[in-house]
Amino acid sequence: MNVIAIWSIYRYEMARFFRTILQSFISPVISTSLYFVVFGTAIGSRIQEVEGVSYGAFIVPGLIMLSVMMQSISNASFAIYFPKFIGTIYEILSAPVNFLEVVVGYVGAAATKSLFIGLVILGTASLFVDLSIAHPLAMLAFLVLTCISFALMGFIIGIWAKNFEQLQLVPMLIVTPLVFLGGAFYSTSMLPPVWQTVTLFNPVVYLISGFRWAFFEQADVPVGLSLLAIAGFTALCLGVIWWIFRSGWRLRD
């Protein structure tokens, strides 16, 4: 294992993050505040509680998940697409590193950045609502696993993308709708029975549900199933990346 290479990639990627730390910090603070103004105040004034939790507090896990998923994808996809775009990918491909080392370096940095943003949102949210976390360790585990699995997905998108438009395509057309329809701002139990069944085909439901359980001990699906879903998604992404490096698809030719 080329640990020094992993650390070098990680540090290099994090340096880019620290160059723009102020934007990285301010942006989630503002967007979270806006969400609270729109959802918390406007809608929250009409929906007082969801399953015994104040609406303002109820949407916090969904808000964090929404940002963390989008940030993980965008950080990782940009991290690998940018070297492809400017040509510096040659030094990764010609270095004595295997696919796992490259992935750990890039995805690790992307996940760290989105974890930071997730924690900033959590901190900002706690300024607006009373928040208690029933299972802090489980909450952290779900958060970290989501950061990693969606960064893996972003990494695949970054390799697949041939231009900047494609880089935005999957997050915009697939991930955002899945998150909004995945119970980020409501409980799936509030839906009609037919739609509750349809929602079960949305993988994001499992992630948000598990994460929300860590806060309020309330879940739309069993927690074990949420963990299984996130583990399966991570394994699937890793498998795809392994195949990409093995075949050289969109990388080595």
Binding site: I4, S8, I9, A15, T88, E91, S94, A95, D253
Partner: protein
């Protein structure tokens, strides 16, 4: 001693069927400088990319320092440094960090003293903290060399190191290459400048359309390729070459309106001064003079014909 680089029947066919390498075989000895000479699209960059791991070969194999480039890719790539043809640098990163990243990718611990030494060799030490966007084209190319040397490679690939570089910088590059050779580094460079290959390479491998046409020591090859022609435009046409000029390799051209003198640029005396004196002595009036050398393509055609004969 076994060659440091052994290439056996390496083939690369791209998606769509284009055959970029058609069974290339080549042995390169440790410490030598070999120039891969060929026109655009000859397969030079594909060959280098394949050896460095950027492109996956379709068939055949190659070893670097005895390590197979695919099976033992870590050991093989540890020995290699690559300077790509295109300038590829992250514009917002400093020179020092860019070089440090490459060293890290090769599993070498951070060593600022070594990086300073490499940057010093390339006259870049004072630019260590400067962002690469602020550097000139020539300096950026030197940063790429510094990155390639950051982990002490034994084999260095230079893909058209002087493409788009001015004359003084080209000379500077040649000096860097000579210094690396003194340090025992094996250098494989691609170029389509015959002059460049002649100036710095121990051997020249001529490559065209994915095939190596020949590999020869530079001196010997230059003797074969070093012919040049002096075209003497005449004021009055000649019916035949005067007997007084029989000692020169002359031919009549353009229906007697010019004399074509073929001479060897490599020989100590080209005979041009003597020819011009003889022309004056025989009363032949000149209108103009020009010289002409075979283009690389014409040389390739000649080489192919020679090989076929």
């Amino acid at each position: 001693m076994a060659p440091i680089l052994q290439i056996k029947n390496l083939r690369k066919t791209y998606e769509g069927g284009f055959e970029a390498l058609k069974g290339v075989s080549l042995d390169i000895e440790e410490g030598e400088i070999i120039a891969l000479l060929g026109p655009n699209g000859a397969g030079k960059t594909t060959l280098i990319s394949t050896l460095c791991g950027i492109t996956i070969p379709t068939s055949g194999n190659a070893t670097v320092g005895g390590f197979d480039i695919q099976r033992d890719f870590r050991a093989a790539r540890n020995l290699i440094g690559l300077v790509p043809q295109e300038i590829a640098l992250e514009q917002f990163e400093t020179v020092g960090n860019a070089v440090r990243l490459t060293r890290g990718l090769f599993g070498k611990r951070r060593d600022d003293a070594h990086i300073d030494k490499v940057l010093g060799q390339l006259s870049l030490l004072d630019k260590k903290g400067v962002r690469t966007m602020a550097l000139s084209g020539g300096m950026k190319r030197r940063v790429l060399i510094a990155k390639a040397l950051s982990h002490d490679p034994r084999v260095l690939f230079l893909d058209e190191p002087t493409a788009g570089v001015d004359v003084s910088l080209r000379k500077e590059m040649w000096e860097v290459v000579a210094e690396l050779k003194r340090d025992g580094v094996t250098i494989i460079l691609t170029t389509h400048y015959l002059e460049e290959a002649e100036a710095i390479a121990d051997r020249i491998a001529v490559i065209n359309k994915g095939e190596i046409l020949l590999v020869e020591e530079t001196d010997k090859l230059m003797q074969r390729l070093g012919k040049k022609q002096l075209i003497v435009d005449l004021r009055d046409p000649l019916a035949e070459i005067p007997a007084a000029l029989a000692g020169f390799d002359l031919a009549l051209g353009a229906e007697g309106r010019c004399l074509i003198y073929t001479y060897d640029t490599q020989s100590e005396r080209t005979g041009i001064t003597r020819l011009l004196s003889e022309l004056a002595a025989t009363g032949i009036n000149l209108r103009d003079l020009s010289t002409r050398q075979d283009s690389l393509e014409e040389i390739f055609v000649g080489l192919v014909r020679e090989d076929a004969a």
